[in-house]
Symmetry: C2
Amino acid sequence: MIDLRSNAEATKDLRAVGLRPTRQRLALARLLFGHGNRHVTAESLYDSALDAGIKVSLATVYNTLHQFTSAGLLRQVVVDSTRCYFDTNIENHHHFYFEDTGEIADIPNDRINAVAPTDLPRDMEISRVDIVVRLRHTR
Amino acid sequence: MIDLRSNAEATKDLRAVGLRPTRQRLALARLLFGHGNRHVTAESLYDSALDAGIKVSLATVYNTLHQFTSAGLLRQVVVDSTRCYFDTNIENHHHFYFEDTGEIADIPNDRINAVAPTDLPRDMEISRVDIVVRLRHTR
DNA sequence: ATAGCTGCAAATGCTTTGCAAGGCC
DNA sequence: GGCCTTGCAAAGCATTTGCAGCTAT
C-alpha cells in the first residue's frame, strides 16, 4: 500500500520498491489506493484515469499494474478467463464473483475458510489457495 | 458422460442432449471421455485429435467444447487468465494448479472443503464455489 | 429437402511489444 | 547526460464469427 498522505510519502514509497515516481504512477497509485479496496481491470482503471483527467495511455496502465503487482502492492485475481483483475487488497482473502455483472467483491476473512488437502503431490508446496464464490441472482 | 461402449450408445447420448452425432463430435467425445478424467484446452484437445488422426478444425473443437459444456457434459475451470480449461469431471470438486507447468489436477473430494459464507449479498445465491490450490516446487 | 454442422479465413478483444520522444535523477 | 518511462501503433494470442459447402435425418 502506498502512503497517500502526501506526495512526498507516495514518492518515497514508490522509490522503495524500485520504481521511479513518475506523474502517471503517482496518479494511478492515488486512484488505486485512495478509496479503500478496489478491484480493477486495466481497462476500468484506464477509464477511471480518463474520468479523473489523468493523461495516461492504456499501455502504461498495463505496465503499471504489472509493476505494482511484482512489487507486491497489488494482487492478481483470476475469476474470468477473458479479463485480468487486480486487487488492492493483498491480505489473504477470497472473493465473490457476480456472474451477471462480472464484478468482484472481497469476502470478509472470517466468513470463509478452506480446509487444505493434507497430502500434496511430492516436492510441492502451496503457493496460494484461491476461493471464488460465484453468485447469481435468485430466480 | 458419454457412453462409449458402442458407437450406437454414444450416438444416442449425443442425441439426448440435442446434438447431432457427427463424425467430429463422436471422435472428440471418445478422446474426452475415453481415458478417465481429463483437463483440456481447445488447443490441447485439437493436438490430441490431430495425433489420433482425426480430421477436425480448431474452430470445431472450440464449438464442440462449448456445446458439450452447455449440455452439461463438461465443466469450465478458471485458473489462468490466458487459457480456458475444460474438465470432464462434472462432479463437485476442486483443483490443484501447477504454476510451473500450467497443468491442472483434481483434488479428491474428501481432501478439501470450503466453509461457505453464511450471509450472502441480498437476492443472491451461490452458483458454485471454486477452490484452486496453487502449487509450486519446494525450493 | 432442409436444418444443422464444419472448415476456413477474417475479425475480435485483451494484452504485449518495439521504438522514438520525453522525463527523472 | 544517461537511463528509465511513456505513448503510440503494430504485433500477438486465444477465441469467435461469417459464410459457403457439406452432412445427418
